[in-house]
């Protein structure tokens, strides 16, 4: 209950800017004082009698606060008692309630003065205290409501029908809304084939529909019994101030805004702000759709205090379905009240939200929201050591046992991991990264972290030297997509064969899979003629064949092709055949002379051989890179370090240390300055008559006095040290004497004590000696320094200069 109430206050707090301010501004002058109906003394008496007879069922706020962590005794007095004015207000409220229940016996008792955490009845309006918070996020309703909904935890009431909050009804996912059945008749006649398909579709549709229906039934069944009976408090923001175009509701638990026309709001019993309390007199048969939020209209809104404001304010209130007759009951006993009676000031303390709490947002930094077939968990940043801030789990069934997929959002990760998406059905994991991963990883989707399995890695290609965009892998292939390379390579596809069996461990590093085929595609290089610009080259490694396909000329539809067979053969005489015409089969769109030459073909082939080697090497390197990335990912997952902004002064250890060091330095500096500013002359100048100018003689005297005083102090200090030194020495001598005399009879303890005393005394003597020596050394220097300083003192300098 506390929580809930606090919530309401909080709520109001949140709306304070809009609400309070608007309240003032929107206040409309009451054009017409309400006509007081002619009432005779008789009637009054009669009424009074009647009223006193009524047994009011004052809503016994039965919600005894559950076990509470709040220490009541520490709360201020205003929490524990009522002031006179508050008492008065409570009486007024009671009176109001009495008349109300008399006039509207069908309606639910008003929610006027629930007990607070100290079991003291408090009028609801006084629980609201407008406060301005130092966070810009809280200035606007949406982020503010978001905060409130995060900051508060909902605790369901033991009885959802008692006046407080029930929210369930509001979760409105319409995901499975029934689609209108398809009209199949027209197509039915047209084609047999079509018909069949449609039939199947229709069947499926029907099944699905039934399924949905069933599911919906399930949900409905759960909801029905309480429909319209629950009570709930929410926030109404009235149009007007701060450019709010029209009134709307905010549900505090979800931070969503609803139109006042929304179906979920079945009616309004009453509303209040920190200044007044209004009872709805309008018929709510159509939910809140027809309500008019003109609080100044006494026919529609019965006010409790004839106070200053009848204008419009934001309000929380109770909702109930069974609102019906709004009998005429204007001026209900209002005239009894003192017209100048106004709302007493709020008894609650100002809300204080520390920056930590604000950042943490949720209680303990964690919040779980259960949705239909989904669960949303939120954490404050840095709460989880792996940077997890949000997790959305969706389930297959309503009971939330079968997990469908999990989405996890991270923040401040050093590896820039942003979102992890786990699909439980397919077993597919997708990791999304923000720019800045050491390997420029953007998306990594995989089923297992084992190498040579199905996986797709996408990269931030601008961050990579090789312009790689995407690398797809299956157990037998690897496909890479590139962009913006200077060699115009755009695509490389590698087919792997079966690994040669080896005893050693299989991995890409030690025993790479043999490549069977490498396909590379290039985009058009505008500086080369199309006939010489290779569009695709295929290295069939096992067959020792290289296929080239060139780009197509602008005005052509065929492209040149060339195929090299690089089998080296030996002719009949045993000589190596270097190049024969049938080793290169080419189709040229426009036959050229020089390409027919064996020499040209030979050179081209040699070049291709080299390039094949290079391509193989690059493919191999890609494999290695995959391994490396996988290793890195595993390390990152294991370490999951978080980054801390240098502006985050609390968390950033380095900057904290630095700041503290700076503060220390500043402090020392300050001390030194204070010392430096010590005015030696002050006591001597004080002796002189005040307000007079110094004479030369006086100045000289002041100086001399100051110096002699300082000299005296130095001597005193020296004497003091000397005296202590002598005292210590004497004592030590005495002890030594005593020891020598009693040496024989001493117990070992005494001897120990004596020895330790001796060493301590010796230490003290030594220190004193050192200090004395130091003092002797420094004293003349200090004296000279003071003299120098006095010479330069602005008050004396004019007079002393002359002597110099």
């Amino acid at each position: 209950m506390e929580v809930l109430k606090e919530k309401v206050e909080e709520e109001e707090e949140a709306e304070r800017e809009e609400a309070a301010e608007r309240g003032e501004k929107m206040m409309r002058p009451l054009e017409t004082r309400r006509e007081e109906p002619p009432m005779t003394q008789e009637m009054l008496r009669d009424l009074e009698k009647k009223l006193s007879e009524i047994e009011i069922i004052i809503p016994e706020q039965p919600l005894i606060v559950t076990k509470d962590s709040v220490d009541i005794s520490k709360l201020p007095l205003s929490y524990r008692s009522n002031t006179l004015k508050e008492e008065h207000l409570l009486q007024v409220a009671d009176n109001f309630a009495r008349q109300y229940s008399h006039l509207c016996p069908d309606r639910v008792p008003l929610f006027l003065h629930p007990l607070n955490e100290c079991q003291v009845p408090k009028f609801v309006s006084t629980t609201i205290r407008p406060t301005l918070m130092p966070y810009p996020e809280l200035y606007n309703w949406d982020s503010c409501a978001q905060f409130v909904s995060d900051f508060l935890t909902m605790v369901p009431l033991p009885d959802p029908l008692q006046p407080v909050v029930q929210e369930e009804e509001k979760v409105p996912p319409k995901k499975y809304a029934i689609k209108p059945p398809r009209d199949l008749s027209s197509r039915f006649e047209q084609e047999q084939n079509m018909k069949k398909q449609q039939e199947i579709k229709g069947e499926k549709e029907k099944q699905r529909k039934e399924e949905e229906q069933r599911l919906l039934e399930l949900e409905k069944a759960k909801i029905d019994p309480l429909h319209g009976l629950r009570v709930h408090a929410w926030v109404l923001v009235l149009s007007g101030k701060r450019e709010v175009p029209e009134s709307f509701f905010i549900d505090p638990l979800t931070a969503r805004s609803y139109s006042t026309q929304d179906d979920h709001f079945l009616g309004i019993e009453s509303l209040w702000n920190h200044k007044n309390y209004w009872v709805n007199m309008q018929d709510c048969w159509n939910g809140c759709k027809d309500l008019v939020f003109d609080l100044g209209d006494p026919v529609r809104w019965e006010y409790l205090l004839l106070g200053t404001d009848k204008a419009q304010l934001a309000v929380a209130e109770e909702e109930e379905d069974g609102m019906n007759d709004d009998e005429d009951m204007e001026n209900l006993g209002k005239e009894d009240e003192d017209k100048s009676f106004d709302m007493p000031p709020s008894w609650v303390e100002q809300i204080e939200i520390s920056p930590e709490a604000f950042e943490t947002r949720c209680p303990n930094g964690k919040k779980v929201i259960q949705y239909k077939r989904a669960k949303l968990e939120k954490w404050a940043p840095y709460l989880n050591s792996d940077g997890l801030v949000c997790r959305l789990t969706t389930y297959e069934d309503l009971e939330c046992t079968e997990t469908l997929e999990i989405k996890e959002w991270y923040q401040h990760r050093e590896d820039m991991l942003e979102l992890k998406h786990i699909n439980k059905n397919t077993g597919l994991n997708v990791d999304y990264f923000k720019p800045g991963h050491p390997q420029a990883l953007r998306v990594h989707s995989y089923k297992s972290m084992q190498p040579e399995m199905d996986r797709v890695m996408e990269f931030y290609e601008t961050a990579r030297v090789d312009g790689l965009i995407k690398r797809e892998e299956t157990p037998k292939t690897m496909t890479e997509y590139y962009q913006g390379r200077s060699d115009f390579l755009s695509y490389r596809h590698v087919d792997f064969g079966d690994r040669v069996k080896k005893l050693a461990l299989n991995s890409a590093e030690s025993n790479p899979r043999p490549m069977v085929k490498i396909t590379e595609r290039f985009s058009r290089n505008p500086t080369k003629p199309a006939d010489e610009d290779v569009a695709e080259r295929v290295f069939l490694i096992l067959e020792e064949r290289i296929q080239l396909r060139y780009h197509c000329r602008d005005d052509h539809i065929t492209a040149s092709k060339r195929e090299f067979l690089r089998r080296t053969e030996v002719d009949s005489k045993g000589n190596k055949i270097i190049m024969t015409p049938d080793m290169c089969i080419s189709f040229e769109v426009e036959p050229m002379e020089h390409t027919k030459k064996l020499l040209y073909q030979y050179e081209a082939m040699m070049k291709l051989k080299n390039e094949e080697k290079l391509s193989r090497h690059q493919a191999w390197e890609s494999e290695l890179e995959v391994l490396e990335i996988l290793k890195l990912r595993e390390e990152e997952e294991a370490a999951h370090a978080l980054t801390i902004s240098i502006y985050d002064t609390k968390r950033n250890e380095k900057s904290k240390e630095y700041r503290e060091a700076m503060e220390r330095v500043m402090h020392e500096e300050h001390l030194r300055q204070v010392e430096a500013q010590l005015d030696y002359l002050a006591p001597f100048l004080a002796q002189l008559p005040p307000g007079e100018k110094l004479t030369r003689w006086q100045a000289a005297r002041v100086k001399d006095e100051c110096l002699s005083d300082f000299k005296q102090r130095l001597i005193d200090k020296a004497n003091l040290i000397q005296a202590r030194f002598e005292k210590e020495t004497q004592e030590l001598q005495k002890k030594q004497q005593w020891y020598q005399e009693n040496q024989v009879t001493l117990t070992p303890e005494d001897e120990d004590w004596y020895l330790s005393y001796c060493s301590q005394a010796m230490f003290r003597i030594r220190i004193l000696e050192q200090r004395l020596n130091r003092h002797k050394e420094l004293a003349p220097l200090k004296y000279l320094a003071l003299e120098e300083k006095l010479h330069k003192d602005p008050r004396l300098v004019d007079f002393l200069k002359v002597f110099v």
Binding site: C552, D555, H556, I557, T558, I578, M579, I585, F587, V589, H594, K597, L598, L599, Y602, E603, M606
Partner: protein
């Protein structure tokens, strides 16, 4: 310049020498074997080195069309010649020769690196064509005038220059001067110029350089202006109305008109040409503007046409490409299938199937092409009609055939001229009468007075002037008409020709492709038979 090999006989660059050099410097090892088998054509040679050959005269290099790098250092060449055909040359080394003047490099527009180290050159010039020049080596020469450096300012890409060993390099200011005048230079005498040096040089020679820059800017501006004017004139010419935006035509009417000029001295005639000229010029301007407008229209028409044609062709090509790509996919499969098929009858069947595929592809491609031809034909004809109409309209309006405008301008010109002629005649006859009566008080020049002998003479003179004027107008008109018409026919012809060429090329391409595929299949068959 005494050299060790001066004692040797000067040699001639003959075929043998070149062959030897090419052979030695050509591909080695396996490739060399191939090269020897096939022989190397001179035009395939990219780089050639002919140093220490005692060559006196550069000759016989015209075959090396594709040469990129040529080294002729350490010879006794005296004159740069015979390099005109080596237009692709990038690198030319003529160091350690006896060259006295830079010449014969005017066609080598691609040259980037030129070395003339250790020669007898006294002046830097004749390098204008070498716009891409980056490295110039002129050390150990006889360049004596430091102002000669300014010539090098025109080479915007020049980064390395060497001039040591020249008389100018001995002057104290040598480095400073060069750094100041060639601010983009990075290396001087193969040493990097440091920034400090540059700054110093700049401040030292600032005034003279500023002046120089100013002059250069002026020249540049003038060139730009001229270019702009040239462009403008071209534009006008394209509209066939050049020189009509002023009094050019009018002036030309009077330049050859002796009598007319004489008659201008007559009293009262002086004012006539003025108003006449004004009106005339206005009409010319009308024609001019109308011409430009029409030109715009024609251009727009042509652009639209080109764009549409291009789109159509593009689309057609895409279709063709798509077909071929589809075929090729299948083609690979079927080839492999045939290769792997063992049963002879199956092979037969597959080959037949495959041949059918090929034929079908051929048919499809040809159909596509024929479709396109028909479509284009239609469009071209339409365009032809439209452009003809436009031209005809233009000419009609400019001439006087139809009064499309308020008054056809050329006819207006003639009317004006006729009117002017009548007035002139009237004045002349009046003057004649006055002269005959001896009432003329003004003095006329002798030759003018000579016209006023009798009526026939003066009428003839005025008539002659009028004829000349009319002739000029007619000529201009004829020129306009013929040029416009010829442009039009030329345009249409070109379009037709282009289309035919395109069609030929495509058909050839398709045939070639089909032949290639067929060949592949045949080879396969042969191979199978052999196997």
């Amino acid at each position: 310049m005494q050299r060790l090999y001066d004692s040797m006989e000067p040699r001639v660059m003959d075929e043998d020498m070149l062959k030897l050099a090419v052979g030695e410097q050509g591909p080695q090892e396996e490739a060399g074997q191939l090269a020897r088998q096939e022989g190397i054509l001179f035009k395939d040679v990219v780089s050639l080195r002919l140093d220490f050959q005692n060559i006196l005269r550069i000759d016989n290099l015209w075959q090396f069309e594709n040469l990129r790098k040529l080294q002729l250092d350490n010879n006794i060449i005296e004159k740069i010649e015979g390099l005109e055909h080596l237009v692709h040359l990038v690198w030319l080394d003529l160091s350690f020769n006896n060259i006295e003047a830079i010449e014969g490099l005017d066609t080598l527009v691609n040259l980037e690196d030129l070395s003339l180290f250790n020669n007898r050159i006294a002046k830097i010039d004749s390098l204008d064509a070498l716009v891409k020049l980056q490295v110039l080596s002129l050390g150990n020469n006889q360049i004596g005038n430091i102002m000669n450096i300014i010539y090098l300012r025109r080479f915007k890409d020049l980064r390395s220059l060497s001039l040591s060993g020249n008389p100018i390099a001995e002057s104290e200011d040598y480095k400073m001067f060069i750094c100041a005048y060639l601010p983009d230079l990075v290396y001087l005498d193969f040493r990097r110029i440091d920034d400090h040096m540059k700054e110093l040089a700049e401040s030292k020679h600032q005034y003279s350089i500023d002046e120089l820059k100013h002059r250069e800017n002026l020249i540049q501006a003038r060139l730009d202006d001229e270019l702009a004017q040239q462009m403008e004139l071209e534009k006008h010419k394209a509209a066939f109305v050049e020189h009509l935006n002023g009094s050019f035509l009018f002036d030309s009417m009077y330049t050859e008109d002796v009598e007319g000029n004489k008659l201008a001295y007559l009293p009262g005639v002086g004012e006539l040409p003025l108003t006449y000229k004004d009106k005339f010029v206005i009409i010319c301007l009308n024609i001019f503007e109308y011409g430009l407008k029409q030109q715009e229209k024609r251009k727009l028409e042509l652009d639209t046409f080109n764009e549409c044609i291009k789109e159509a062709i593009q689309e057609n090509q895409e279709q063709g490409k798509h077909r071929i790509a589809k075929f090729e996919e299948k083609h690979l499969l079927s080839l492999n299938a045939i290769r792997e098929e063992l049963d002879l009858t199956n092979i037969e069947v597959r080959i037949v199937e495959y041949s059918e595929d090929i034929t079908e592809l051929f048919n499809v491609l040809m159909t596509l092409e024929m479709q396109l031809v028909e479509q284009l034909e239609e469009t071209i004809n339409m365009f032809e009609r439209n452009i003809m109409d436009l031209v005809a309209l233009f000419l009609e309006n400019v001439q006087s055939l139809y009064p499309f405008l308020d008054d056809p301008p050329m006819a207006q010109c003639r009317d004006l001229e006729n009117h002017h002629h009548e007035k002139l005649l009237e004045i002349s006859i009046n003057t004649l009468e006055k002269i005959l009566k001896g009432e003329l008080d003004e003095d006329l020049p002798e030759d003018v007075r000579a016209l006023f002998v009798d009526k026939d003479t003066i009428v003839n003179a005025v008539g002659a002037s009028h004829d000349i004027h009319l002739l000029k107008i007619d000529n201009r008109e004829d020129e306009l008409v013929t040029r416009t018409n010829s442009w039009c026919t030329h345009l249409v012809d070109t379009i037709h020709k282009d289309e035919i060429m395109r069609n030929r090329r495509r058909v050839k391409e398709i045939n070639q492709y089909i032949d290639h595929i067929q060949n592949e299949l045949d080879n396969l068959e042969c191979g199978d038979v052999i196997d």
